[in-house]
């Protein structure tokens, strides 16, 4: 089977994944889908936690604790959003490449069959 090459444009320029088995690509897409769900689930928990942040008392230290907690959650949410974007992009690239390859393969098979009919 010919190799299925998928250009990895970000973050490294010129990077390239090579697959020799289409089933392998399918399984990687499934793994990434599962990963994306976990990232979404984590993001959901982080957002919900922001809404539930409470200071244990009214003194300055307690207020500062919530501010630090909130800032930390916001950073985690940004990281979570970037992770979700990265995984989504990877799934899109792999799906597009798989679809493109399958389409090309089907077209080539049809051409070969057509040639066979003409030769007969």
């Amino acid at each position: 089977m010919p190799e299925l090459g998928i250009q990895n444009q970000e973050p490294g320029v010129g990077g390239r994944y090579m697959f020799t088995d289409l089933d392998e690509v399918d399984s990687i897409i499934l793994e990434l889908e599962a990963m994306k769900q976990e990232i979404d689930s984590d993001g959901f928990e982080l957002y919900a936690a922001v809404s539930a942040a409470r200071n244990p008392a009214e003194d300055g230290m307690s207020q500062g604790q919530v501010q630090a907690y909130r800032a930390s959650l916001e950073k985690a949410i940004q990281h979570n959003g970037m992770m979700a974007r990265y995984v989504t992009d990877q799934i899109d690239k792999l799906s597009a490449a798989l679809s493109d390859y399958t389409g090309t393969d089907t077209g080539a098979a049809a051409q070969v069959r057509a040639i066979g009919r003409v030769d007969r």
Binding site: D40, A48, A52, E58, R70, E74, A84, T88
Partner: protein
């Protein structure tokens, strides 16, 4: 837990005695939550919209994924079952929730019953007033119930949008859409509003 909760309970009783600004059912109107007898500095000084026609969500706090029907979810591009969370540390801290993962439309939709908001939307306003928690804090209404968009600076970029809706003076629910950078913030917030409206409708039809 915020130290002012007990004081707010006093404030809520005082408000119940003094009454709201209108008696029309289901219309959210501003009313002052902070009580003049309260000594807490954490009570929101701004006017917090009151809920005039409270809804009972106890059924869905126990079974959070039942609040949206499969037909409703299908219209949001969701065909998979939701993932309920009623027992984790997160559920204990933030409230019971359900998270649905989109399939046809690339987005995740979550609803949290914010049982820790014992003073309803007043707690959300208090959080904003005390800590400027959200960079984008915009009051709105969902089917005549008071609500507020609560979003951070980067949310629109990621296609995320959050909305807190007050359904009684002791309970809110939170809707979050995670758009994976595939939709813009405005489209995300429009979808969140649709989901929140569907939740309110469900609460009215099947309390």
């Amino acid at each position: 837990m915020r130290a002012h909760r007990a004081l707010t309970a006093v404030a809520a009783v005082a408000l119940a005695v003094t009454g709201c600004t209108t008696t029309e059912a289901g219309v959210a109107t501003p009313g002052t939550v902070a009580d003049s007898t309260s000594t807490s500095t954490s009570e929101p000084t701004s006017e917090v919209p009151r809920v005039n026609d409270p809804l009972d969500a106890s059924r869905y706090i126990v079974d959070p994924c039942a609040v949206l029907t499969q037909a409703q979810l299908a219209s949001y591009g969701v065909s998979r079952n939701g993932r309920p969370d009623t027992a984790s540390a997160s559920a204990e801290y933030s409230g019971p929730s359900c998270l649905w993962f989109g399939q046809e439309v690339d987005a995740a939709i979550g609803v949290v019953w914010q049982t820790t908001n014992e003073n309803g939307l007043s707690d959300t306003y208090g959080l904003q007033e005390d800590f400027a928690t959200w960079e984008h804090f915009e009051a709105t209404e969902v089917d005549n119930y008071p609500a507020v968009f609560t979003n951070l600076d980067g949310d629109a970029e990621f296609g995320n949008c959050g909305l807190v809706v007050g359904i009684s003076d002791t309970l809110t629910f939170y809707v979050l859409l995670q758009g994976h950078s595939k939709i813009d913030g405005e489209a995300s917030c429009n979808r969140v509003m649709q989901v929140a409206t569907a939740v309110i409708q469900k609460l009215k039809e099947n309390p």
